[in-house]
């Protein structure tokens, strides 16, 4: 069977299904990971001793360990204490928790780079800390953290491939299954790779446009 036919008839259908699973994984985990990251960053900078320490330890753990180890703990480890996750759920939870830690570092850096005068001026107007953070600090900090957070989002698009290691059949998994059945590793993974390159390019372009749209003269 020629390469083209192989690709069209045998490879593409399962690989496209796998791509859909990958897209579901990233659409679910990217926004939630970002929101978690913002919460952790705010908790770390503005929270009391207890909250701040928790955020520090959380970040230390999720940035100091491989995503794959976190996945294994969730999918293989938790059942031994009675909590069962489906492969898809385990993957999403791990992605959210892990990328949340990385996002929080970018957002935290951005928050700390904002002059203290901004908070002072907000408080001088009578805003409480919560309002000042919500209306003055975060709008500026989030703009400044766009480059770093965009980077992390693109990482997640690629590392979603690890979901296969806990038996969630996404794009890479679909490819591996076909490749091992038909012994066509090179061809299959070049196609799979091309799809990842396409996804990464689209996401990069989209994030670039987003950054342009949110640009304010003088910030970021």
């Amino acid at each position: 069977m020629s390469d083209i036919n192989f690709i069209r008839e045998i490879l593409l259908p399962p690989v496209l299904e796998g791509t859909v699973v990958t897209l579901k994984l990233i659409v679910a985990s990217i926004p939630l990971g970002l929101i978690l990251g913002i919460l952790i960053a705010v908790g770390r900078v503005y929270g009391n001793r207890l909250i701040s320490s928790f955020c520090i330890i959380y970040t230390l753990f999720f940035r100091g360990t491989p995503l794959l180890v976190q996945l294994f703990i969730l999918y293989f480890g938790f059942p031994s204490i009675g909590i069962f996750f489906s492969p898809f759920a385990a993957a999403i939870i791990a992605f959210i928790l892990c990328s949340g830690a990385y996002h929080s570092e970018y957002v935290r850096g951005a928050i700390q780079s904002i002059k203290s005068g901004q908070m002072m001026a907000a408080e001088a107007l009578g805003m409480n800390k919560f309002k000042a953070i919500l209306y003055i600090i975060l709008p500026q900090a989030l703009r400044r953290s766009i480059p770093g957070c965009s980077n992390e989002i693109i990482y997640l698009v690629k590392y979603s491939s690890l979901a296969f290691m806990v038996t969630c059949v996404e794009l890479t998994g679909a490819g591996k299954i076909i490749a091992s059945r038909y012994f066509e590793y090179t061809l299959v993974f070049l196609v799979v790779g091309a799809i990842y390159l396409l996804m990464v390019s689209v996401v990069t372009k989209f994030l670039g446009m987003l950054e342009k749209k949110l640009e304010i003269p003088g910030i970021g």
């Binding site: 107007l125 009578g126 209306y135």
Partner: protein
């Protein structure tokens, strides 16, 4: 403590220390409605710290503050209510960089005072008009000159209808050519009857606008009195020395010109 109807601000025995150093060593003064008090003194004398203690951006170690006969220092819970009644203008302007000039002036009204958006916008435009900047309403801080930024920040503070305005060296960060436009606005404000405390190095301005000048050094009030007295015949030698030096540097008052 008399219930004086005319007293807007009263500050009693303020002490503040940072680490081992005591910055404010027992400051007391009071201001009646419509008065302008100017605080002068060498750097490090605690002038900025004093202003920030008044609206509790800095927490004082000892002392009391009354705003219109209500004690500010006792209320842990609602300091924000008091801050709304005190307008503060910073040396570094501290405009909100992500908002246009108009939105900078509006935001206190919309988010703190919870005024209807339409009303807030009208008021904001009016405040900007008062400082001569209604044409720059849609510009961002990065697009404004230093003098324009400071005028916006004055408009922002005034929009809240404060009982007293606190100016922390409002022109120290400005290029010389831009100082005049800001002083004009502050002067106009004083003449219109706003109660104000102004920390500044601008002696000409102080002489022509202040009802009383307070000279601070090393965390204490060394001297205070009406401008004429302080400049021509102060009680303390140190005051005379300081004023001589400053007048050499900054030039004579507007009246003498």
């Amino acid at each position: 403590m008399q219930k004086d109807k005319n007293l807007v601000l009263r500050v009693e025995d303020i002490h503040k220390r940072y680490g081992k150093e005591e910055i404010l060593k027992g400051i007391s003064f009071e201001i009646e409605k419509g008065q302008t008090k100017v605080i002068i003194g060498p750097s490090g004398s605690g002038k900025s710290t004093l202003l920030r203690c008044i609206n509790q951006l800095t927490i004082l170690d000892k002392g009391k503050i009354w705003l219109e006969n209500e004690e500010v220092t006792q209320t842990k819970k609602n300091i924000n209510r008091f801050r709304q009644k005190m307008g503060m203008v910073f040396q570094d302007f501290n405009l909100f960089d992500h908002l246009t000039a108009l939105k900078n002036v509006e935001i206190g009204l919309v988010r703190v005072k919870k005024i209807d958006k339409k009303e807030a916008k009208e008021k904001a435009i009016e405040e900007l008009r008062q400082v001569g900047l209604e044409k720059q309403a849609d510009l961002y801080p990065a697009q404004l000159s230093g003098g324009q930024k400071q005028r916006v920040s004055i408009a922002r503070a005034l929009a809240m209808d404060p009982k007293v305005m606190l100016f922390d060296e409002p022109t120290s960060a400005l290029d010389p050519e831009l100082i005049g436009e800001v002083l004009e606005v502050i002067k106009k404000l004083a003449l219109s009857g706003m109660t104000m405390v102004v920390v500044t190095h601008e002696m000409g301005f102080a002489r022509s606008v202040a009802n009383e000048i307070i000279f601070m050094e090393g965390g204490r009030i060394i001297d205070q009195g009406i401008p004429y007295k302080l400049f021509t015949d102060p009680d303390h030698e140190r005051t005379r020395q300081f004023l001589c030096k400053i007048t050499e540097l900054y030039g004579k008052s507007e009246e003498e010109k």
